[in-house]
Symmetry: C2
Subunit: 318 residues, 2 copies
């Protein structure tokens, strides 16, 4: 991809919790900004994206292009976003690219899937650099994924890489997608929280919800889970044990098909729990691996939560 005309490209990672922007010039980071995602309306979310781009400190006239990684369904032609359930007011269609472009006097805005943006960032400038075929697994509120095939993002008909919905236990736990036994039903932070609430109702003890309140959060965040694990909270340990086992099965199934050189484990939970988590997932994967003598490298991200914004900038021409 060529460098944008005016030199600076801003990449934006639009998440359900926060908005992360990075300004890049000739592959160097020249500015960044981070803010909380408004929970009010789509107008407020779009305004916050515009503000985040401004907050990178790059004068509007120097911005050559903007890339945005977004949840939901993306129309690649128009940059419209549909059914991004994590974002307030995005139940229908929001003309994200057009609205942001208007705020910057018609600058080119490219919107792409958030998970693919993050994988592309890690592939080009992070942990995936040495490889040709890579499987990305992003363990956050849900479990997203993506495939790099021969150095390019593989999109299938537009919906490839959904490792979160690989079946790890037919008839098992209910997933956020409504189906039973998907990987995400065990390893997604959202479904973990639901399960914790269910178990607490049944009388199990846990520090998870106290920690959540103490941190003034309304969700059991990755940070909350990490702190509970440090406190040896049994319920949190059980949740992670199930998540690791499910990731082992799901990644092994994917690897038996895909035979990647490397698997990158990212996302909020993956980044927070780091190398010990990736090692546990690798150990859980091994018994199900067909080419066990030729296991893929299991890597943490290098860019962490900047992967999405970095990838969005690269896709837009950085």
């Amino acid at each position: 991809m060529s460098t944008a005309r005016n030199g600076v490209v801003v990449g934006v990672d639009l998440g359900g919790t926060k908005i992360q922007s990075i300004a890049m010039k000739a592959r160097e980071r020249v500015g960044e900004a981070r803010s909380l995602t408004p929970r009010t309306s789509s107008d407020d979310v779009v305004a916050a994206v515009v503000e985040s781009i401004r907050s990178t400190g790059v004068p509007a006239a120097e911005i050559g292009a903007v890339g945005i990684g977004s949840p939901g369904e993306i129309d690649p032609r128009t940059g419209a976003v549909t059914q991004a359930r994590n974002l307030a007011g995005f139940e229908g269609t929001v003309e994200l690219a057009a609205l942001v472009s208007k705020a910057f006097e018609g600058v080119k805005v490219r919107v792409d899937n958030d998970v693919r943006s993050a994988l592309w960032g890690e592939y080009r400038l992070g942990a995936g650099r040495p490889y040709k075929n890579v499987l990305g697994v992003f363990v956050g509120t849900g479990v997203g994924g993506g495939l790099i095939v021969n150095g390019r993002l593989y999109e299938g008909r537009g919906a490839a890489g959904e490792i979160g919905h690989v079946v790890v236990k037919p008839g098992g736990r209910r997933c956020s997608c409504g189906r039973l036994g998907c990987l995400e039903a065990y390893a997604g932070r959202g479904q973990m929280e639901l399960r914790a609430r269910k178990l607490v109702k049944k009388g199990r003890k846990t520090v998870l919800f106290e920690l959540m309140k103490k941190r003034r959060r309304d969700r059991v965040t990755s940070g909350v889970i990490a702190e509970a694990l440090e406190m040896k909270d049994r319920l949190a340990e059980d949740l992670i044990k199930d998540a690791v086992a499910a990731l082992g099965v799901g990644i092994a199934s994917a690897q038996n098909l895909f035979d990647a050189e490397a698997v990158i484990i990212g996302g909020g939970l993956g980044d927070r729990l780091g190398a010990p988590f990736a090692e546990r997932v690798k150990a859980a994967m091994m018994p199900h691996l067909f080419s066990a003598q030729n296991a893929p490298a299991l890597l943490n991200t290098e860019l962490g939560d900047l992967a999405g914004a970095t990838g969005a900038a690269l896709v837009a021409g950085a």
Copy 2:
């Protein structure tokens, strides 16, 4: 791939049960031969391959190249075959390409994986023609698979496409690979036969083994299973029900990752049971499909058991 120098290319599908050869000139079939695979020694197997090529009726001087689809591990450089457990005397390494080449005065011989050859044949000249991204699932003694990505065979590091070892039930039935709960443990003919023998020992009734003897076979072949199903044999029906459910889970998991336009179901059992089988597998896949509104086409093969020989010929330059 260019047409071989002397015009005629012979493709050979070397299977555990039979050897199928096809002679092709400018993509037209100009001869074929079929024989049983010797169960004695690797020398006899190689001699039978040579004889099969001669039996296509093409004069040796007109053969420009030979392609062989073989089980086992293939050295792509030398065409040597290692650990093809279905073939007598192939436990170690057999210099298949060199030995066949010698019998035809140094003709170029290319050896490739049998499943990939069959998928390539179906992709180029069979059911896969209209598509770019295709998943092949070959249900025979085992369950083999392959991926076509953007019109090319995707090989990963050489071991891609092993859908038979996608996990469909963690901790489930023992697979021929030694692991638990692989798709092949439920849908491979070999494991079905083992399960039938186990259930008969426990007192279940079935016509499977009578039919096998009546047909003078030493294995429960696809034909035996098909006849038992026609007779409404309950045990055979149960085996197929389990196989269909497992294929539904395994193919859905693969599709959620790969988002193919089409899935081709072939192999001895897939070909024998035909369209009703493919329809049952599709129905079993649907509840696990993430993009259920955009399901892939589930197709039978068009070339049937000629897919392997056809693909081998194409790979060798037909």
